[in-house]
Amino acid sequence: MLQCIYLLSDSGEVMLEKQLTGHRVDRSICAWFWDQSLSQGDSFKSLPVIASPTHYLFQIVRDGITFLACSQVEMPPLMAIEFLCRVADVLSDYLGGVNEDLIKDNFIIVYELLDEMIDNGFPLTTEPSILREMIAPPNLVSKMLSVVTGNASNVSDTLPSGAGSCVPWRPTDPKYSSNEVYVDLVEEMDAIVNRDGELVKCEIYGEVQMNSQLTGFPDLTLSFANPSILEDMRFHPCVRFRPWESHQVLSFVPPDGEFKLMSYRVRKLKNTPMYVKPQITSDSGTCRISVLVGIRSDPGKAIESITLSFQLPHSVSSADLSSNHGTVTILSNKTCTWTIGRIPKDKTPCLSGTLALETGLERLHVFPTFKLGFKIMGIALSGLRIEKLDLQTVPPRLYKGFRAQTRAGEFDVRL
C-alpha cells in the first residue's frame, strides 16, 4: 500500500505531492531522499528501493524527473515499481513527454490522473484507453475546441463503461469511417563481443506493436510463419491464452489505438549484421587507437544511423581522433561519439587517432567499451515473420499495414 507519491524535478524540488492514505507523509522525506541521492553521486546509481528512517521509498527516474513513492508497510516491491513506471508512461503519453515545464503547466491533469490511477494506496485503473475516456489529454485539438466552443473542460461527460464490460481495455463501440490496423515488429539486438572478438552473447528482444482503429468489437487473429523461434513471450491482457498454447495463434480483441500486443525474446543468434574492430596500442604515455566498422552479413536492407560511442578512460588526458567517414565529437565528460550514418560503398569507415595519457602513466590499464548503434528498417533480424492477420468480421474499407524494424539495443564491443 503506497502512502504518498512525489514528483521531484532534477534539482530536487517537489513539483507535485499526492497523499494517498490517512497516514500523511511529511514532505521532509523528499529532502532526506534528495540528500541521500546527492551523496550517492548521481541518481542513476541510487537503488530503486531504499529504506529511510521512517519509510520505504521506491523511486524511478525518467528524463530527469524522479517519481518517488513512500510506504510504511510491507508490499511487493515490483508492484510499486511497476506502478510508478505506469504512471510515468501515462504522463508522458498525456503530456507528450515528461519534464519540469510540462508537469508544472499541467499539474491539474497530473492530479486528476493520479486520482483515478490509485485510490487509498492501491492501484486502480492504469489502462491508458480507459483513462483517456475519463480525462481528455491536453492536446492541440482539445485546446482548439475549447477556444472555439468556449468549453474549457478537459473532462469527458460520460463515464467509461469499459470498466464494467468484459474487455476492460476496450472503450465501448468506437466508430471509424475507415478501418485501419497496423502491425509493427520492433526488435532490439543486445550483444556482447569480447576482447578476442568473439560473440559472447547475442539475443533479440522484440515487441509486436499495433495501432488499431477499427469500428465496433473486432476479433483478430495474428499468426507467425515461424513461431517456434520465440523463446519466451509476454502478452497484453487481451490475448487469449488457449489458441496460443494449441496452435501458436494470437487471438484477441484489440484495445483502441496504439498498444503493445506482445513482447518476446529470441536467444542464441549466431550472427550480427555489423562488426567493430577496435585496436589499441600504447607506448610511453601515448596510445594509438583505430576502430574499423563494417558490415559482416548483409541483412538485405540498408543499415542506417550507425553510431559508435565510448567513454574515454579517466587516465586519458587528451584525445585527438579523426575518421575517414562521418563525424567525431568528444564531450567534456570524455564521452566520444562517432556518427557514421550509412556505410559508404567505396571504403570501410575507420576512426583513428592518439590518446595522451596522464603524466606518469606508461600504458593504458582501463579499456573503453564501445557501444554500437544502428537501425535497419524493413526487417526483423530475429527472422520472425508475420504470416497473416485475420478479422472475424471484415469491416468495410479495411486497410492492414505491416512493418518491421531492428535497432541495436545494448550492443557492447569490449576492448
Binding site: E74, P76, M79, A152, V155, D157, A163, I192, S263
Partner: protein, 842 residues
C-alpha cells in the same frame, strides 16, 4: 540518520513568499463567490489553479479555506476536482471549517452524473475528520447500492477509509457484511477486487478481538472463495490480480489435485505483461509445491524463462526488482540456472546495482561446465571503467575459485591481474590469493613466485597490504627476501596508519623469525618494541603478548603463533540457511530486495497483517515470542554489518586466522576479538582454540539464533538435547506447522499438582521453558487450555513443533508433535512428556 526537520527550502527566491499573494487570492475569491456573471467560472478556474499550485510548492494556503468552499457551488467538473483536492488536503487541519464542505459534498453525492457522485464520495471519505464520520454513513450506504460501478468501486474503498477513521461507526453500520455480499455477487470486477482488499484489511484488524471477524477472515481462504476468484482472475485488472494471487498464497490446498488445479488455472499468468503479476504467480507456484520436491523442481524450470525475459525487457528499476528475486532463486537452486549464465553477463550501460547482483549470480551458478566462460567474462570486467564493479568482479573470481571448480585456470587468471599494475586490482587480488592459499596450500609455489615480485610500495590499501604481509610471514621459507621486505616495512612503522597492517606485521615477523631466525631477529626486535609502544590497544597487547610468550619459551611461542595448519575446507557462509529460508518464505516482498528477513528491518506494527490466527484460533502470543523482535532502530547498526556482509567478513576471517590459532575457528570474526583470544591461548595452549566460543554474528546472538553456527555435533547423544536458546518466529512456526506432516499424537494425564498450578497459561509456559521447550502461542480459559510449543535440537537447527491441549477437568493432555526429523520425534515426545509430568512438582 534522523529525518530532517520539515524544510522550507523549496520555495526559491523567484517564487512568491506567500503571505501577500495568499491574501490577494482571498479577496479575489471572495468577490467571485456570489457572482453569477458569465465567464466567472474561467476566472475561478485561474484562481483555483493558483491556489493549488501554491499548495503544491509547499506554501500554506489553508487560510483561504472558507473562500474556496464558498466558491465551490459550480457545475464545472474541473473546478470541482480542484476544490476536492484542496479540501482533502486541508480538511484535517480545519475540522470546523470542514463542516462547511460536507453540505456541498453530500449534495454532489446525489448528482445525476456518476462521475461527480463518485468523486464527491471519494473526497467526502478522504476528509478524515473524526467528528464528521456520522455524515459519511448515509452517502456510503447509497454509494454501495449505486447502479454505476464507478461509484460502487469508490464507495467500497470509502468504507475502508471510514473504518480507519472510526472502526466502530463502520462496524455498527454493518458495512462489512454488505461488502461481503458485493464481493460475491457484484458483476464488476473492480468492485469485487476492492471489496476483497477492504475486507482483508478490516477483518485482519478486527480478528484480534472478535471471533466472528476471525472466522470471516478464514472464510476468505476457503476453497470455494479461492476458486471463485481464481476462476475469473482474467476479468480483473492487473493490480487486482496481484491482490488475488497474494490471497492464493495463503490458501492451504487440500491435496495434490488441488495444487495442480490451481497451477493449471494460473499458468498463463506467467505470460502476463505486468511483472508484478508474474512475480505474484511465481510465489504461488513456489509456495504450493514446497512439500513436493519433484514438482518444485519443475516449477523452477517453468518460471525461469518468464523471469529472464522480464529482466531483459523492463527499465533498470524493474530489472533490479526482478533480479533480486532471481538472485534468491539462483542461490537456492544454482544448477537449474547453470546453463543460463549468459543472462547474467553485465552490459556496459547497466546501473551498478544491477551489475552487482549479476556478479553475485554468476558466482552462484558457476559449476564444472561453465566456470571457464564465466571467469573469462569476469576477467574482462576487471579492466572496467567502474572501479567498484572491477573490484567486485575480482572478488567474484576468487569466490568461484574457492568453490573448487577448475582452480588451475583461475589461479593463472588471478596472477594475471597482478600484472595489470592497477593498485586496486592488485590489492583485491592479493586478498584473494591469500584466501586461496589457505584453502589450496598446494598452489603456494606458483603464487609465491609472482607475489614475491610485487613491491609493497605499490600497494596502498590496508587489506591488500595485510594480505601481502601475511603471505610473507607464512611463506618466509620460500621467498628469499621475505625478511628484508618485512624489515623494510617495520622500519616504516610510524608511517603505517592502519592498525590492521601493523598487527599483521607483528605476526608475520614472528612467523618469519621461527623459520629464519638469524635474518629476522633484529627486525622482530624492532617490531616488538614499536608494537609495545603503539597507541593502538590491540597492537600494543599483541606485541606484549608475543614478547612475553617468547620470553617464556620460544617453542611454545611457535606452537601458539605458527602451528601446523590444515587447509580450510569451507569458508563460513555469511548468512545462515535459516535466514535464507525465511527470506524465501517472504518471496515477493521487500525482504528479498534487502536480502534479509522482514523481522530484521521492520518493527512489529508495520509488518503485514498478522496472519497467525488461521490455525490457532483465538489465542494470544506470549511475550516470549514477541521478545524476539528487536525494535528497528536497534537493528540498524547490525544491518549495516550485514550490508557490508560478504566481502568484509571474508577479509576479517583471513585476519583472524593470522593470530596463529588453529584454522578450524572461522568463527573469529573481529580483529578486536583477537586479543582476548590470545589471552585464552596463553593460558591453555593452542588445543583449546578448536572449541572456540560461538560466532560473533551480532544478530544471531541478539536473537538467540546461535544454532546455525553452533559447533559441529558430538556423536549423537543418547537422550535428545534441546537448545535452551532456541528461537522461531510465529510466521516460520506457522509455515512449518502447515507443511510438516503429523508425526505423533499422544494422550497423557497431567498430575493433580500440575492441574492445580495451571490457573493461567503462563505458569506452564515458564515451566516448559526451563526444559528448553518454548511456547509460541497460548490461549484458552479453564478448563481448556491450548498451547503451541517449539523446541530445537541443541546441535543442529532441527525443529520440533507441538500442540498441546490440556483439559483441567479431566486432567488429560493431548499432544500433537511435528518434527523436521521424523526419526527423533519419539524422543522429543518423551522429553516433552517428562517435562509435563514434572509440572507442578516442587
Amino acid at each position: 540518520m534522523a529525518p530532517p526537520a520539515a524544510s522550507q527550502r523549496y520555495p526559491s527566491p523567484s517564487q512568491p513568499s506567500g503571505k501577500s499573494e495568499v491574501s490577494d487570492l482571498k479577496t479575489q475569491l471572495r468577490q467571485l463567490a456570489g457572482s453569477r456573471a458569465p465567464g466567472v467560472d474561467d476566472s475561478k478556474r485561474d484562481l483555483y489553479k493558483k491556489v493549488i499550485s501554491y499548495m503544491t510548492i509547499g506554501i500554506d494556503v489553508s487560510s483561504v479555506f472558507g473562500e474556496m468552499v464558498m466558491c465551490s457551488a459550480t457545475s464545472d467538473i474541473v473546478l470541482k476536482k480542484m476544490c476536492y483536492l484542496y479540501v482533502g488536503n486541508y480538511a484535517k487541519g480545519n475540522p470546523d471549517l470542514s463542516l462547511l464542505t460536507i453540505n456541498f459534498l453530500q449534495r454532489d453525492c446525489k448528482d445525476e452524473d456518476p462521475m461527480i457522485r463518485g468523486l464527491a464520495l471519494r473526497s467526502l471519505c478522504s476528509l478524515r475528520v473524526p467528528n464528521l464520520v456520522e455524515y459519511l454513513v448515509g452517502p456510503l450506504g447509497s454509494g454501495l447500492k449505486d447502479n454505476n460501478s464507478y461509484v460502487r468501486t469508490i464507495a467500497v474503498t470509502g468504507v475502508l477509509k471510514l473504518y480507519h477513521i472510526s472502526p466502530s461507526t463502520c462496524i455498527d453500520a454493518d458495512f462489512p457484511p454488505t461488502l461481503k455480499s458485493l464481493m460475491l455477487h457484484d458483476s464488476d470486477a473492480q468492485v469485487v477486487a476492492n471489496c476483497l482488499s477492504a475486507l482483508q484489511e478490516i477483518w485482519s484488524i478486527e480478528a484480534s478481538h472478535s471471533e466472528e471477524a476471525c472466522r470471516e477472515k478464514e472464510s476468505l481462504l476457503s476453497k470455494p472463495v479461492i476458486y471463485y476468484f481464481l476462476n475469473r482472475i482474467k476479468d480483473f485488472n492487473e493490480w487486482a490480480q496481484c491482490l488475488i494471487l497474494e490471497l492464493a498464497v495463503k490458501y492451504v490446498p487440500s491435496d495434490s489435485n488441488d495444487i495442480f488445479d490451481i497451477m493449471n488455472l494460473l499458468e498463463d499468468r506467467l505470460q502476463h505483461a505486468n511483472g508484478a503479476v508474474v512475480l505474484a504467480t511465481v510465489k504461488v507456484f513456489l509456495q504450493l509445491t514446497l512439500s513436493m520436491t519433484d514438482v518444485h523442481q519443475q516449477v523452477y524450470e517453468r518460471i525461469k524463462s518468464p523471469l529472464l525475459t522480464l529482466v531483459s525487457s523492463g527499465s533498470p528499476e524493474q530489472s533490479y526488482a526482478i533480479l533480486s528475486h532471481l538472485h534468491l532463486l539462483v542461490v537456492r537452486a544454482p544448477f537449474i540456472f547453470a546453463t543460463d549464465y549468459k543472462h547474467f553477463y553485465c552490459q556496459y550501460n547497466e546501473p551498478s546495482y544491477v551489475k552487482k547482483l549479476k556478479l553475485e549470480m554468476l558466482t552462484a551458478v558457476a559449476n564444472e561446465s561453465n566456470t571457464y566462460e564465466i571467469v573469462t567474462e569476469l576477467c574482462e570486467y576487471a579492466a572496467n571503467v567502474d572501479i567498484a564493479i572491477a573490484r567486485e568482479s575480482i572478488r567474484a573470481v576468487g569466490k568461484i575459485a574457492l568453490q573448487q571448480y577448475d582452480v588451475n585456470a583461475i589461479v593463472d587468471r588471478l596472477l594475471q591481474f597482478l600484472e595489470m599494475e592497477k593498485d586496486y586490482v592488485t590489492a583485491e587480488t592479493l586478498v584473494l590469493v591469500k584466501d586461496l592459499l589457505r584453502k589450496y596450500p598446494q598452489w603456494s609455489h606458483d603464487c609465491i613466485s609472482v607475489v614475491g615480485g610485487i613491491s609493497s610500495k605499490n600497494i596502498q590499501e590496508p587489506k591488500g597490504k595485510a594480505a601481502l604481509i601475511w603471505m610473507l610471514g607464512e611463506y618466509a621459507q620460500d621467498m628469499s627476501d621475505a625478511p628484508y621486505i618485512l624489515e623494510n616495512l617495520i622500519e616504516n612503522w610510524e608511517e603505517e596508519h592502519s592498525a590492521e597492517v601493523r598487527l599483521h606485521l607483528l605476526t608475520a615477523a614472528m612467523k618469519c623469525f621461527f623459520k629464519r631466525a638469524p635474518e629476522t631477529q633484529k627486525a622482530l626486535g624492532t617490531a616488538l618494541a614499536a608494537g609495545v609502544a603503539d597507541f593502538h590497544q590491540d597492537v600494543h597487547d599483541r606485541a606484549l603478548f608475543y614478547y612475553r610468550v617468547l620470553q617464556y619459551d620460544v617453542h611454545v611461542a611457535e606452537r601458539v603463533v605458527s602451528p601446523p595448519k590444515q587447509a580450510v575446507s569451507v569458508f563460513a557462509d555469511t548468512q545462515s540457511s535459516e535466514i535464507k529460508d525465511r527470506i524465501f518464505d517472504e518471496f515477493n516482498s521487500l525482504s528479498v530486495i534487502y536480502q534479509k528477513p522482514s523481522y530484521m528491518f521492520t518493527d512489529k506494527e508495520h509488518r503485514g497483517p498478522f496472519e497467525f490466527s488461521d490455525e490457532l484460533g483465538n489465542i494470544s502470543i506470549t511475550p516470549e515470542a514477541s521478545s524476539d523482535i528487536v525494535p528497528a532502530q536497534q537493528y540498524e547498526a547490525n544491518d549495516k554489518d550485514l550490508l557490508l556482509g560478504i566481502d568484509e567478513k571474508d577479509d576479517n576471517k583471513g585476519l583472524s586466522s593470522n593470530n596463529g590459532s588453529a584454522y578450524s575457528a572461522p568463527s573469529l570474526e573481529n580483529s578486536s576479538n583477537i586479543t582476548s583470544q590470545m589471552q585464552e591461548l596463553a593460558i591453555s595452549g593452542p588445543a583449546t582454540s578448536a572449541t572456540t566460543p560461538q560466532s560473533s554474528f551480532g544478530f544471531d546472538d541478539l536473537l538467540g539464533l546461535g544454532l546455525s553456527t553452533a559447533p559441529a555435533p558430538t556423536p549423537s547423544p543418547p537422550l535428545l538435547k534441546l537448545n535452551p536458546r532456541a528461537a522461531l518466529d510465529p510466521g516460520a512456526f506457522q509455515q512449518k506447522w502447515r507443511q510438516l506432516p503429523l508425526s505423533l499424537t499422544q494422550e497423557c494425564s497431567v498430575n493433580p499438582q500440575g492441574i492445580a498450578a495451571l490457573t493461567v497459561p503462563q505458569s506452564l509456559i515458564r515451566h516448559m521453558q526451563s526444559h528448553s521447550i518454548h511456547c509460541i502461542a497460548s490461549g484458552g480459559q479453564s478448563p481448556n487450555f491450548k498451547f503451541f510449543f517449539f523446541a530445537q535440537k541443541e546441535s543442529e537447527p532441527s525443529n520440533y513443533l507441538a500442540e498441546c491441549i490440556i483439559n483441567t477437568s479431566s486432567a488429560k493432555a493431548q499432544i500433537k508433535v511435528k518434527a523436521d526429523e521424523q526419526s527423533t520425534s519419539q524422543a522429543f515426545t518423551t522429553v516433552f512428556e517428562t517435562a509435563l509430568s514434572k509440572f507442578g512438582m516442587p
